[in-house]
Symmetry: C2
Subunit: 286 residues, 2 copies
């Protein structure tokens, strides 16, 4: 049996525990305690102080049959707050959305580099690349595309919880899918700053003509030739983020990157816009 | 269209490109260059020197229709080597396997805390917890359980690539599934130290009787009562890692944690064993 079955049965077991009136031993309590603090750190409002360990904490318990430490303090683990302190930043997701050829990957690269130059840890999740690993079992049906976005969102959430600035770069043309990802993040809010949302949508608002002219992968040509059906911007819609359209930046974290006249910003300028935003919102300190 | 279709069509597009004799513009070359360095860092043997950026690098290109920087050096992004340098550690996966109740979660907690006390960044992936997010679409059929392990392995690989010490805690009873995860890691090997494997298997070799006595989730009771079928250790096998059995630690990274006489090691002692191993193998420095 794998841990799957454990999880399924746990709720039944817990119900039984309820019926029995919580007559469980101290051992079970301690075990549950460990589990909660270990794997559900974001659900806890308690902040733990991690004490530097010394060998004196490792007192063997020769009469115990079970792994345990005499000092319960040592059962605390390093949680999100500690990881953020270590990195001196707040974990979050920068979700870059836009047409094919709008410069998402370029921005992701530049942003990653710019953050590194400031000593900040980021990681880029790219939809295409995940296709070779985590999402390699997914095909190209509508529901599989949605699943691709969902899994990417779930992984991005884990990275944010780990304290990293996770840069997800996906066309993600539908509001529904982006909203699903956004809705994953609330319970990953920062314990110490609950007003923060942990996701920042970056909308690469570049004209279709420009993206098509750029066409780095030759996909627009194929789409125009009818060799690709359902291509975003050609015969399938791109739904721009609403919060950018209505210009209410304080309602939700979203920024728009667009041309200044007919001049596109350089990668460094684009990255600078995002970094400035992250800095202003306090993401670049713990 | 999502990025899925892009990926699928890319190979067709690339074939066409081959046929056309690589008559693509400089723009396309630069774009491909960015893409390769951005998302396939582990496939490149080249190590990049990241130069601290100054505003002078952000020179706009007013005559260009496309996002670009005049300084191609700035197209380099922060790769695995840079992230490891930032963290002063090597990204890897510590995969904890063992029976239910053998102390996997306890070790994961303790290890995470111990690493934090040394200023090292780790993240715990727990099979049960992933059930609530990434793997919530999976049921309990054999192939879905295997898929659960596979996805966890893929995510662990991403975390290792991000430079973290990823602690995956799953019963993972079958060698086949563990081998699948192990096989994912070779191309995540360290650029600067190719002799390193990026996965360390930790086998919690605790007697079934002890695990059943401990039974923190009450699952063994349910299994003995016939309420759970296919429970590892009761009516489904646990296949211990072979490399532990034959005691060839140098053949593959695997360590065994077991009782000393009838005394179990404390969490701190267990974590210490793993940390000592990681330190000895050079994972705790970049």
């Amino acid at each position: 049996m794998t841990e799957d079955l454990e999880w399924r049965v746990l709720s039944e077991s817990e119900k039984e525990r309820e019926r029995k009136g919580r007559r469980k031993s101290l051992l079970l309590c301690v075990s549950t305690f460990i589990h909660c603090h270990c794997f559900l750190p974001t659900l806890s409002t308690q902040q733990h102080t991690i004490k530097p360990l010394s060998p004196s904490h490792a007192i063997p318990t020769p009469h115990s049959k079970f792994p345990s430490d005499s000092d319960t303090q040592s059962l605390f683990f390093s949680g999100r707050a500690e990881r953020q302190k270590l990195l001196n930043q707040k974990g979050c997701v920068v979700w870059i959305t836009g047409l094919s050829g709008s410069g998402k990957s370029t921005l992701a690269c530049s942003l990653s580099r710019e953050l590194y130059s400031r000593g900040k840890l980021s990681y880029v999740l790219d939809g295409d690349n995940l296709r070779h690993g985590l999402n390699k079992d997914l095909g190209f049906k509508a529901e599989e595309r949605t699943e691709n976005i969902r899994r990417t969102g779930e992984v991005a959430k884990l990275f944010a919880d780990a304290g990293l600035i996770c840069v997800a770069s996906l066309i993600s043309p539908y509001r529904r899918d982006r909203d699903t990802c956004r809705s994953m993040l609330p319970d990953a809010n920062f314990i110490e700053a609950r007003h923060h949302e942990a996701i920042l949508i970056v909308f690469m608002n570049m004209p279709l003509e420009l993206c098509e002219l750029r066409d780095p992968k030759g996909l627009y040509k194929l789409a125009r030739a009818g060799k690709i059906k359902g291509f975003t911007g050609i015969d399938d819609p791109y739904e721009p983020p609403l919060n950018c359209e209505v210009h209410v930046p304080e309602a939700s974290k979203a920024i728009e990157i667009k041309q200044d006249g007919d001049v596109c910003p350089t990668p460094t300028v684009m990255a600078g816009q995002v970094v400035t935003y992250l800095e202003k919102e306090g993401f670049l300190e713990h």
